[in-house]
């Protein structure tokens, strides 16, 4: 089932009716409607067979978290019984060991399942035991990465004692299976989502106009921008490489930056709007990433919830390990305090981005993409004093708008270099295209190369529509970056203006369907 389908519209209307009816008539228990609705959504959008994997993650993390609670409660009771220091120390160590064992077992189960389903066939292919790295016959469960990460954040937070374990398995499954987040996130935290899921909401809490505007804007980005660029990007890249003007690849990657943003953030807008119709606000996942001033800033604005997940559950645990602290100490002693402070974080960053690259896929180009991002961020941190010194020597005034614009453009270029390794699926080809782009851009040859594509009127119209939407998205982003609230601005217009704006957005979305292009959400594949 696609989000833009009659089936989803019927499902949503029926769910909203049941949800608010239960709230009004019973006064509580709306979460049961959410659970049943989410299960129905899973069956329609995914397959029932793969629900077993979700249940394994759900049951194991629920049971493990309850186990942590019980161990902690038991420890508290024992500590209350004795004042002997060594006995108390032994008791704490024993509980800590058991908790750690349960944590590791659960991590192994959840991550092992994810790894098996995503990568086992790649391993077999590399060993010559499979004919293709894809299509093992195993169905990849809908949202497996996202609900796995979400389940693990719950598990680890429970292990750390930063949340109260959920006693009810159905409520825990509601948190995991909550349908708006299933396809491609965001990765919500239990502490933020659960209070909203399990409280009662009334229709008057919902800003319907705002939610519908967000839904339409998301559809515009996904269907009238991202989907319309897919075919052209493929054709441009098919013609790019050695011998072709490097500007062909540059154009393709620039279009890809728009396509990927539109696909992912558009999809997120749509599901966030749907969630807001239920009175539930999910974690924001995008914050105008192409207006970032550094690569690190970019990754704090793009797929925000994955970034914070990696920060809290991979980066900090890794950076604060004993070996890392030792590394910092040694480096500090030999290379100065800045390097000593920064190096552990740099190593952890590289590790995080390698992991993110691996999460996209086990192919070489994804790993290189991850390594590239990690290294650029690490080097930027390590060389910050040198950059500061250079700016001072050159008397660069960093408070000016010009400097800010320079940083935004520079970051955009750095991000797009990374996209070469993300979008061009063969590592050798991505290097060739990048080399050609840098050494032989040949912008003068671009019109001829584009003419050779022999694009039909329909394709040209698709590009026009996508371009118009991209312009709108850019204007809205700039307005909001300067503190504006585009939705609020529209909401303050007369009703006829609002309705006309929404009608035009609908028209453009529907018009984009007539081209018969595009597919599912990119990030649903990860």
């Amino acid at each position: 089932m696609e989000l833009l389908s009659l089936q989803f519209a019927i499902f949503l209307v029926a769910l909203l009716a049941a949800y608010y009816a239960v709230g009004r008539l019973v006064g509580r228990g709306q979460w049961v409607v959410l659970l049943l609705g989410s299960l129905a959504f899973y069956g329609m959008a995914g397959t029932w067979k793969t629900l077993a994997f979700v249940l394994v993650a759900g049951v194991s993390t629920w049971a493990a978290a309850l186990g942590f609670s019980r161990l902690d409660a038991g420890l508290k009771a024992r500590l209350g019984e004795t004042r002997d220091r060594s006995a108390r120390k032994a008791a704490k160590a024993a509980v800590h060991r058991r908790k750690r064992l349960v944590l590791l077992a659960c991590l192994a189960l959840c991550l092992g399942t994810l790894a098996y389903l995503k990568y086992w066939n790649v391993v077999l292919f590399e060993l010559g035991l499979a004919s293709s790295p894809h299509g093992m016959g195993l169905l990849l469960p809908l949202g497996i990465s996202f609900y796995t990460f979400q389940a693990l954040s719950y598990l680890i937070d429970a292990y750390r004692g930063s949340l109260q374990a959920e006693r009810s398995l159905p409520r825990h499954l509601t948190f995991l299976l909550y349908f708006p987040q299933l396809i491609q996130g965001p990765i919500n935290r239990y502490g933020d989502l659960a209070p909203q899921l399990f409280s009662t909401h009334a229709p008057r809490e919902v800003d319907l106009s705002r939610s519908l505007q967000l839904l339409l804007f998301g559809m515009l980005k996904k269907y009238a921008m991202a989907d319309l660029l897919v075919g052209l990007i493929t054709r441009l890249l098919a013609g790019a490489g050695d011998g072709a003007p490097g500007s062909l690849a540059i154009l393709a990657i620039l279009l890809y930056s728009a396509q990927q943003y539109g696909d992912f953030s558009g999809g997120i807008d749509m599901v966030e709007a749907v969630s807001e119709l239920l009175g539930i606000r999910m974690a924001p996942n995008f914050r105008r990433p192409y207006l970032s001033t550094s690569l690190a800033d970019f990754w704090r604005r793009w797929h925000i919830t994955l970034g914070t997940w990696m920060r809290d559950y991979v980066f900090y645990p890794l950076a604060l390990t004993r070996p890392m602290r030792a590394l910092g100490k040694v480096a500090g002693g030999r290379l100065g305090s800045h390097v000593g402070r920064t190096l552990p974080a740099c190593v952890a960053n590289v590790a995080v981005f390698l992991l993110v690259g691996l999460w996209h896929g086990a192919e070489t180009h994804y790993l290189v993409w991850g390594l590239y991002n990690g290294l650029v961020i690490a080097l930027a941190d390590l060389l910050r004093p040198a950059f500061d010194r250079a700016s001072s020597l050159l008397r660069v005034d960093r408070s000016t708008r010009g400097w800010h614009a320079f940083r935004v453009v520079r970051t955009f270029v750095v991000v797009n270099v990374g996209w070469y390794f993300d979008r061009i699926y063969d590592f050798g080809a991505s290097l060739a295209c990048l080399r050609q782009s840098v050494l032989h851009p040949d912008f003068a040859g671009l019109p001829q190369a584009l003419a050779a594509l022999d694009m039909g009127k329909s394709e040209l119209l698709q590009v026009l529509v996508a371009g118009a939407v991209a312009l709108l998205v850019a204007c809205v982003s700039l307005y909001e970056e300067r503190g504006g609230d585009a939705s609020g601005w529209l909401s303050r217009r007369p009703v006829a203006v609002r309705a006309a704006a929404c009608a035009v957005m609908c028209l453009v979305v529907v018009l984009s369907l007539s081209f018969g292009v595009g597919g599912g959400f990119m990030y649903a594949n990860y």
Binding site: S5, L6, V495, A499, A500, S514
Partner: protein, 375 residues
């Protein structure tokens, strides 16, 4: 706002909301209608076919099927040769379930007693074509917007459609017959306001197409020299969809049960296009022939015609799989002889067999056969 009557602010807010809702709905409805009238093509080859069908009082022969039939069989020529009254209701991308629907309309409303169903190898794998079906529904329900709306909603609710974007497209039918050029939009609006002639409107919208009559029109263009594209290259390897196969079987069964004479015609392609399918063509089409004949229908594959009987030149073809106006006239002439009063006798002499595919290759691709022998 201060007031002495505490109920007035509460009464005004719902009223303001109602007005806002009505204004919004009116704007949405207006935009929908504007898009439907302006962006949805007023004329289409499907609309012409149905328009002529509805206009006919009685018919004895109906042509159905996809664009193979739409461009392959000239009803005016057929009627001139056989003295029949025919409408060509074949439409681009028409799937067999729509063909059966058209047959039922023809038999029930116009008294049709003979059906010609045009097919090709690629017809056996096409289960769903939303653009085609929406155009079909609009034409079938010409002058009946409620009937069209209910058919489109039923299509949108089909299990294989409801979870896809096509379910949305069906509710915005202009997305299936879009025209975006300002001139075309202006033509659409003018024709809708003035009630323009559908055939003339189609000639204005569809470049190169001209109307002939009895639901039929065609192109005069020919395959461009050097255009070596084949069906295999463009559409990929042929595959048989079992649901589609069963729907063709259902057509044969329905016609037999209702005493309707059915002739299934595989329209000709250039020999190189048929050859590109390799052994898939004779293997699949032989199975199809057996199925069709077992259910009482007549089967004619004009690609099997001996060159001495029927040998369409390349100039008879619009592209690698469709005939142009000249080609359709020539084919229909041949078809009339094969299904006419003495047709049964002619067929054995005129047509070869799938069992002798090497013989077919030698006859239709002599240069390739020679090259094969020499290597």
């Amino acid at each position: 706002m201060p007031t002495t009557d505490g109920s007035r602010p509460t009464q005004r807010r719902p009223a303001a909301r109602r007005v806002a809702t009505l204004v919004s709905l009116a704007i949405f409805a207006g935009t929908y209608l504007l898009a439907l009238w302006g962006l949805g093509a007023y004329g289409s080859t499907t609309a012409v076919a149905w328009h002529d069908f509805h206009a006919a009082e009685r018919l004895d022969t109906l042509v159905v099927g996809s664009s193979f039939g739409q461009q392959g069989i000239d009803p005016v020529t057929l009627d001139a040769r056989l003295g029949t009254t025919t409408v060509n209701l074949a439409t681009p991308g028409q799937t067999p379930d729509d063909s059966l629907d058209a047959i039922k309309c023809g038999v029930g409303e116009k008294g049709v007693c003979h059906v010609i169903l045009a097919v090709g190898l690629d017809s056996l794998g096409t289960r769903l074509d939303t653009n085609s079906h929406v155009a079909f529904v609009l034409g079938r329900n010409e002058g009946d917007p409620l009937g069209a709306a209910s058919s489109l909603v039923a299509f949108a609710l089909r299990p294989d459609v409801v979870g896809t974007r096509d379910s949305v497209r069906a509710l915005f039918p202009w997305t299936c017959l879009p025209t975006y050029a300002p001139r075309s939009v202006a033509l659409n609006l003018r024709n809708r306001i003035q009630g323009g002639d559908v055939a003339h409107a189609t000639e204005e919208l569809v470049r190169g197409w001209h109307y002939v009559g009895r639901g039929y029109g065609n192109y005069d263009r020919t395959i461009a020299p050097g255009d070596g594209r084949t069906s295999l290259q463009v559409f990929g390897s042929p595959h048989v969809d079992r649901v589609v196969w069963d729907e063709y079987a259902a057509i044969c069964d329905w016609c037999r049960e209702h005493n309707v004479s059915l002739t299934v015609v595989a329209t000709p392609h250039p020999a190189y296009d048929v050859a590109a399918f390799g052994d898939d063509y004779p293997r699949i089409m032989a199975d199809f022939q057996r199925m069709v004949q077992a259910r009482g229908a007549t089967y004619l594959d004009l690609n099997l015609a001996h060159r001495s009987y029927y040998d369409p030149p390349l100039s008879d073809f619009d592209d690698f799989e469709h005939l142009n106006a000249t080609g359709a006239e020539r084919l229909t002439d041949v078809l009339a002889r094969l299904i006419g009063p003495d047709g049964a006798g002619e067929r054995d002499a005129a047509l070869g067999s799938y069992d002798d595919w090497d013989g077919w290759r030698r006859e239709h691709l002599p240069d390739a056969a020679d090259a094969g022998r020499q290597s």
